[in-house]
Structures are given as C-alpha cells and as structure tokens.
C-alpha cells in the first residue's frame, strides 16, 4: 500500500498551551455583549488550534468576568490573568469604566493587550509614554470617528440625491457618558465641513434615561433636517425612537451603536423602521463574513450574535498571526519577545471578517475607513445600516464598496 505522509495539522504532542486571557462582562448591563465577546474568542481559538496553534502550541482562552466593568474590577481581573493564570496576552471586547487604568498592569508585565474600548483616551495614554504602553492595542477606531463619519455619510446621501434635506440644520443630543459626549462634540465640529449647521446642541442629557420628550420638544423648535442621538444604551434609544414618533418631523434620525442590538429592535418593533445606526467595527455581509456567521451560529446557536463576536474573533486571529510571525509568545516579563509581536501587529495589515485591521503606527488603534484613510483595503469600515424591515437584518447602505442596499426615505416622512 502506498502511504503518503501528510503535513501535520495537529498540535505537537507534549507542548504546553499558551494562555490567552480575556476580561469580559459576563454579568451586569453589558452581559449580552460579554457573552458574544467570549464566543468570538472560543471560536477563534478552536480555529487556530485546528491549524497547528501558534508555532505548534495550542492557545487556551481564560475568561475573567468584569461584571459592571468598574475600574477596580477590571484592574483586578487584568492582574489575575497576568499573575495567576500566566497569560501571554489579553484579548477582550470593551470594558467601560476603568478609564484605561488596566493599561498599567499590562504595561508593568510587558504583555500584549488588545481591546475594543473605542475610546479616544487610548491615543493619549499611548502618546504619554509609547515605550511603556507598547503592548496596548485598540482593535477598533476611537469613538471620535463616529461623529465626523456620520456627517460625511449624511453629506453623501444629500450629494448623491438619495435624500433631499429640507434644510441644512442638525440637532445633536448626547448621553452623559464620555463616549457619547466625544461623539457629539466631534459631530458638531465636523458638521460645517460637510455643509451642515448645528441648530441644536450638543445637548447633554443625563443618562441612563427613558424620558426624552423634554429634549425632543426643544429639538422640534430648532426645526432640524437631522436628529442625532449619541447615547448608546439600547433600551434608552428604543424609548427615544418611540417618543420621537409620537410627533415626528421630516428629519433623518441617527441612533448610536446601541441600536445595533437585537434588543433595540425587539423594544421598538416597526417604529424603528427608517432609523440609521452605525458602527466603526462590524461584521461585513460579504462571503467571508457570511461564512463566519454560519460557523458562529452553528457553534453557539441561532440566537447568538456574530456581529458582536466578530470583534474578538478577528483580534485573536490577528494576534496569533503576529505572534507566529514574531517567532512565538511570551508571558509577563517577556518584554523583548512581546515587543516583536507588537511590531508585527503594527506591520501586518489583516483582512478579517470586520474588514482590514491596520493599526496606526503611533496610536496603535485600528485605522478607520473612510474617516482616516480613503483606501478601503487599509482601514476598518465605518458601517452605516438602516433598519428597513424589522423582521430581517439591518441593511448596510454605506460605505462603498461594502454596501449591499439602498437608503429608503423613512416612513415618518410626509
């Protein structure tokens, strides 16, 4: 019998696993996202291990719950992953609350930390001491780009004749979290560049809240063609949309990231139809993205949300690639080897299911397309969806070349 040796696709026997930590909210208000972040890590680790791990060593995910994501909990979770579990890297979704204080534990240990906090303060932390924070990467663009990105999007709708605004006025409402304030300020700052005039706001509304009628009354008085709400809690946004429809005007409604959630659609039903929502990191509905979504749902069930899990999934694959190219991983104290990995993360643009992860060489956050680059192959697309049929997926209406559908005039327009 003719036997042929096949390339080994199994892990080398006897090799120790590489522990990869993840700080995820598996309870509390962000639990739904935390579960998906965990799923993304698990699926990526399984795929990496099926392909020989990192230079023959399997990766082993370890999760620590960050609950309500307070600074104290997140910092402790980070320290446990580094010192108790000996993790070589931490790959996580977002943790709102620690204000980057978890970076200190990472920097002291000299390991790699990749997260999706989507915060501009990442840039300043890195800039304050690039050598110390060499291992800290943000796997998506900072929230700032939501603001200018939306203004560009609205200009595109107008200039291509898809929508004829009745005036150039925009009303901007913000929640009271720093994330929302930064986006609202960026929106106001970019508006004139794209032919818009801020007629109201940015008005900061203490959040969480479901009482939007007072601010909506003020918005009505400003008579805008666009109403943007940069608060991001899905339930609060659902209340906003319902209350807007009590007395609608011919204005485009933009809702921040929280409206991406299924819970938003469940709470709003048909009243969500026509609303615009965006994300600076999301699952692309192309062949690669669809195949991933299929694998994801097969692994975690039909009710799972690959559009959230894709974030950590893409980040772990990118890390594994960079670590292999750098010659392996290292635990706490392995500064030299981890610096090599960091260098590879910066230099290897990785086309993943969320588009291209291309880290900015200085700020070490994913470069945003079309906000920071006009080359879609070199940036993570800022995706704009419109809720058109609540029974189906949101329709990706921008940017080119990724969009799959057309903008439709919202049903409340008369």
């Amino acid at each position: 019998m003719n036997t042929r040796s096949t390339p080994s696709m199994s892990l080398m026997p006897g090799t120790s696993a590489i522990s990869i930590g993840s700080i995820v909210p598996l309870s509390g208000p962000s639990m739904a996202d935390g579960i998906e972040f965990r799923n993304g890590i698990i699926l990526a680790a399984e795929e990496i291990n099926r392909c020989n791990g990192i230079l023959g060593r399997p990766v082993k995910p370890i999760f620590v719950n960050t609950g309500n994501q307070s600074a104290e909990i997140v910092v402790k979770a980070t320290q446990r992953l580094i010192h108790e579990f000996g993790c070589h890297a931490i790959v996580s979704g977002y943790n709102i609350g620690p204000q980057n204080s978890e970076y200190e534990a990472v920097a002291d240990a000299g390991i790699i930390y990749i997260q999706n906090n989507t915060l501009i303060q990442h840039h300043d932390t890195i800039a304050s001491d690039p050598d110390r924070y060499f291992g800290c990467f943000m796997n998506d663009p900072p929230e700032y780009w939501y603001g200018s990105g939306f203004m560009k999007f609205a200009a595109w709708l107008r200039d291509t004749g898809q929508w004829k605004p009745r005036n150039d006025r925009i009303a901007i409402i913000s929640g009271s979290r720093p994330y929302s304030i930064v986006i609202a300020n960026a929106m106001a700052s970019a508006a004139p560049d794209f032919g818009w005039r801020v007629a109201f706001g940015p008005k900061i509304v203490r959040s969480p809240t479901v009482q939007w009628r007072p601010v909506l009354d003020e918005v009505h008085a400003a008579d805008p063609a666009i109403i943007a709400n940069t608060h991001f809690y899905a339930g609060d946004l659902a209340a906003f949309q319902r209350q807007f429809l009590e007395r609608p005007i011919n204005a485009l409604v933009y809702l921040q990231y929280g409206a991406m959630h299924e819970s938003f659609l469940a709470a709003t039903g048909d009243s969500a139809r026509g609303a615009i929502v965006s994300t600076v990191i999301g699952l692309l509905p192309d062949d690669m993205g669809k195949a991933f979504a299929e694998r994801y749902r097969e692994r975690f069930g039909e009710d799972s949300t690959p559009s959230i899990g894709c974030q950590t999934y893409a980040a772990l694959h990118h890390y594994a690639l960079a670590a292999a190219a750098a010659g392996g991983t290292a635990p706490a104290g392995g500064f030299e080897q981890n610096r090599r990995i960091a260098q590879r993360l910066r230099s290897l643009t990785f086309r993943s299911v969320v588009g291209s992860i291309n880290y900015h060489p200085i700020s070490q956050s994913a470069i945003s397309y079309p906000n920071q680059t006009n080359d879609p192959s070199l940036g993570m697309p800022h995706l704009f969806f419109q809720i058109q049929d609540t029974g189906k997926n949101k329709v990706l209406i921008a940017p080119d070349p990724y969009r799959t559908g057309q903008f439709r005039l919202p049903p409340w327009f008369t």
């Binding site: 620690p98 204000q99 303060q121 300043d124 200009a155 595109w156 032919g195 700020s363 006009n374 940017p399």
Partner: protein
C-alpha cells in the same frame, strides 16, 4: 602600392622644364613624392588653370567610391561637381545645375564646401587658389567632427533652454511668493501692534498658516519649473472644496482687507476630483489678479453645480478686460498696458499663463467673462468628487482636540509651582483651558474674568486660607453651584472632614489621573 599610387597620377599635359617628372631622376623623385601623398589621411585634387583635373590621390576615391571610375585626369571641375550631385552627395531637392554652379563659384572664391553624403558621412572640400588660376582642393571626412559639433550645439541649446526656464521659474517664484509675503508683512505688523494676547495669537496663527502656504507654493513652483520639461504628473483625488476655500481665504483675506475690498468665499460642501495643490495654484492666481485689478467693491468666490461637474468662479468688481485682450492675457509675460499702478506694473504677467498651463494639465477648462469697468468672472470647471474616495483631513486626533473635556475651562489653585505646572500639563493634554492662581486674591480675580466651568483647589494655601474657604468664596462671587474639587496631601482627619462637611469632593495627593477624570466628568456632566 606604387601601381595604385601611379593610377592617380596623370602626366602633365603641358610638361614644363624644371618640374618634377623631367628626366628619370626627377621621375623617380616625383614617384616617391606621389607615393608619400597617397599615404596621407586626406584627399587632394589638383586642377590646372583650365580647371581640369590633373592629379587626384586615392583617398578621394576612397571617400567617393561611386565616383572612383570617373575620377581621373581630364575631368573638368564642373563635371566633377555634377557627378558628386548624381552620386547623392547633395540633397535631391536641389537641382544639379544650380548646385553645381553654386559650388563651382564657391570653390573659386575660396569658400569651403561641406557635403553631407547619403550614408551619413560629411566631407569638407577646402580650396586653395593658385596665383596662376589653378586650383588645389583638399578633401577631408569630418563626420566625427561634425557630430561632436552638433552634440556641442545641442548641449549649448539645452543649457540655454534650461537657463531660460530657470529664469522664468525664478520670475514665477518671485511673482507667486509675493502674495503670502505681503500677507506676512501685514500680519507681522498686526502682531507687533496687537493690543491683546488674543489678537496676537490670532495673528501668529494666521502667520503660521501663511508660512505653510508659502511652503506649499514653493513646492508647487518647483513643479511648475518642471512643467516646461513635461515632468509634472497631476495627482488626482477627491477632496472637499471647503478645505481649499479655507486655505485661499487665509491666504488672501488680509490682502483684500488691506486694499479695502471685501473677499467672500461662499462655502460649498461639495467634493471635486482634481489635483488639490495645482487647483489651488490656479484659483490663487485668479484671486490675486482680482485683488490687484479691483479698486473698490468685492471679490466673490463660489461654486455652481452643473450636473456631474462643478464650476468654481472668481467674480470681481474690477476694471474688467476688453474683448480684444481676453485671450492674450493668458500668454506668458503679457500685461495690458494702460493705467496701471506701480504695484501692478511689478506683475510679470505670468500668473494667468501658469493657470492656463496647469488647467490644460488637469483637463479642466478655464473660462473668462469680463465687462470693462464692471468686472470679470474667471472660472474653472471640474468633475464632482466621490466622498468615499475623498481625502481625509488630519487623522492624528487626541483628547486635546476631541476629548470630552475639550474646551472646558478650569481654575486651578495651587501654590506649589511644580505641582501646578504638572497638573496644568495633565489637564491641557485633555483639552482643558487652565487658568491658574496661587492664592485667594489671585483666584477671585481670575474667576471673575475667566468664569471657569470647574475649580480644582489645593487644601492648604498661603495666608492661612484653605481650599474650602476659597471655593466657598468663589461660589459666592461667581455662582452658587460652581463645581469644585479640593485636593490634599494631608491625611489627617481634620482637613478631610472639613472638605467633606463643605460638600466638596476630595482627592488625595498624588492625584490619580483616572480618578480625577472620573470625578471631573461626574461634576461637569452627570450632575444638575
């Protein structure tokens, strides 16, 4: 060799005594001399007084192989010249008889003839007239010499062209750099006479931008220098017209104001597809001319959308251009003579020519409408841009420019200069405008003018005052809900209790930036 050499020798038809060839010894010498003449590297022909060939060496036959059979004693000079023409030594479009007559005449008046042969060689015929009417002609191939001469001539012409280009470039540089330089001059004056810090800073900011524009201009001028060499390749991209208009406004607003003119840029949100820098150069020339030739009124820069194209127009209320000059003003160095001021006469007439050449390169048509004594409209038409492919602006963002605290004003009261400096640096990195004070009197004075959004005060301050007392005083003076934070290095119970009883949040030194950030956020955005 002797035989060959003898072929070219012909006996004298009219031998004379005393000449070589008379007698056997003489004949032998003559033969030796002739052999020597065969070895020299040029040809010669000797014609008698009837201008009939009496001697020719083999080198001539070598040079004109197609005539070899006819070159011999008895050939008349005129026939030789006709034969040369027939052999292609002369361009075919010149009639044989005319050329032969001209050549004949030239040789007999001592002029050198140069023949360009069909095979590319060049031969030079140099006549020497005998005192008795005979003629000797030396024949040399000068092909290499002529090639070297041509190369030298071409190099000289190239150098002259380069020199002319350089001169033109320098004139253009002088012309175009004058605009921002004039702006700088005004700004320097404004800066020197500024009566407030704010107006000085505004002038400095405008100077910074103008210097940037000069840098760009120099770079563009270097490119323009290469226009002549055809070396400029436009870099076409999409970009917002607004960003271009802003740069032009910064460049020209001071000059227009200085002349008492109103410069209005009508804001456009549209994108165009072009080379931004080259387009800026074209529009800058339009606006500079508009300012130069407008005595009163205004300059208006705006856009008109025309389907999938955009026309950028520069209107002025100037003197206008008569129809007969409307094409010529785009010629190089052309200026309309007339009632120009001294300043206008200094213009070299290059701007519109450069604009025209750049527009040709951009494939963007320039149009001009003008009415004498009423004004002009210069316009350029461009394809609309694609917003997704549009250039991105400044992609280096930071909290200083875009953070949640950007623009917030804080009064910092700290008597230790080192701590004050460190905390100020931290707050400024977050985009905060920091006003500082070292004690109670300073703080009250600053608070009344600056109207801060928040106060951060040290607990122990000079004069026996505490941060709590100062914060309460500031609330009395400014507003009762003015947010305040008191910081202390004192871990004793008394100060912390004092701060707490007054209802102020307290931070312990050294201040943790994340804690300070969270507290500030809470006081500024989550309360009230």
């Amino acid at each position: 060799m002797k035989d060959n050499g003898a072929k070219g020798m012909m006996p004298a038809r009219r031998p004379e005594a005393g000449r070589p060839g008379a007698g056997s010894r003489g004949a032998s010498r003559l033969q030796d001399a002739w052999d020597a003449l065969q070895r020299i590297d040029f040809g010669f022909c000797i014609f008698d007084t009837d201008l009939v060939l009496i001697a020719v060496n083999d080198y001539v036959r070598y040079l004109f192989p197609t005539l070899a059979g006819r070159l011999g004693p008895g050939l008349a000079l005129q026939n030789l010249l006709a034969a040369l023409h027939d052999a292609g030594a002369v361009p075919g479009d010149v009639l044989p008889a005319e050329w032969a007559a001209a050549a004949y005449s030239a040789l007999l008046t001592g002029q050198v003839l140069e023949l360009s042969l069909a095979d590319g060689r060049v031969c030079r015929l140099s006549p020497t007239l005998g005192h008795d009417g005979s003629l000797a002609v030396t024949v040399q191939e000068v092909t290499q010499l002529k090639r070297a001469e041509r190369r030298l001539r071409e190099a000289k012409e190239l150098a002259e062209r380069a020199s002319a280009t350089k001169s033109r470039f320098l004139r253009a540089a002088n012309h175009d750099l004058r605009q921002p330089l004039a702006t700088l001059k005004i700004l320097v004056y404004n800066c020197l006479t500024a009566d407030s810090l704010q107006s000085r800073q505004e002038a400095l900011h405008a100077m910074d931008l103008t210097v940037g524009i000069m840098e760009d201009l120099l770079s563009a001028l270097l490119d323009v220098g290469q226009l002549d060499a055809g070396a400029i390749v436009p870099r076409i991209g999409s970009f917002p017209v607004a960003s271009l208009f802003e740069r032009l406004r910064m460049q020209f607003s001071h000059q227009a104001a200085d002349k008492g003119l109103q410069l209005r840029m009508v804001r456009s949100h549209l994108q165009v597809t072009s080379d931004k820098l080259l387009l800026e150069r074209i529009l800058a020339n339009f606006i500079a001319n508009a300012i130069r030739y407008t005595d009163c009124g205004r300059i208006l820069v705006g856009c008109r959308r025309m389907g999938d194209r955009l026309r950028i127009e520069v209107h002025d209320t100037g003197r206008g251009i008569a129809p007969e000059y409307q094409e010529r003003i785009f010629d190089e160095f052309y200026r309309i003579d007339g009632n120009e001021t001294d300043r206008e006469r200094k213009a070299l007439g290059l701007g519109l020519n450069i604009a025209k050449r750049l527009a040709l390169l951009l494939e963007a048509p320039i149009t001009l409408r003008s009415w004498p004594q009423r004004g002009s409209v210069f316009a350029i038409e461009l394809p609309l841009g694609d917003i997704w492919r549009s250039e991105v602006g400044d992609t280096e963002i930071s909290e200083m420019a875009g953070g949640e605290f950007a623009g917030v004003e804080i009064l910092l009261i700290e008597d230790d200069p080192i701590l004050r400096k460190a905390l100020t640096a931290l707050l400024e990195r977050w985009g905060i405008v920091v006003h500082t004070a070292a004690g109670l009197s300073d703080a009250c004075e600053v608070a009344m003018t600056a109207r801060p959004d928040l106060v951060i005060s040290d607990y122990r301050l000079p004069g026996g005052h505490t941060g709590v007392e100062i914060c309460l005083a500031l609330r009395d003076a400014c507003k009762e809900d003015l947010p305040c934070i008191v910081i202390t290095a004192d871990m004793d119970e008394q100060p912390i209790s004092d701060i707490s009883q007054a209802g102020f949040p307290c931070l312990i030194k050294p201040v943790s930036p994340p804690r300070l950030r969270v507290l500030m956020h809470h006081l500024l955005f989550e309360q009230g």
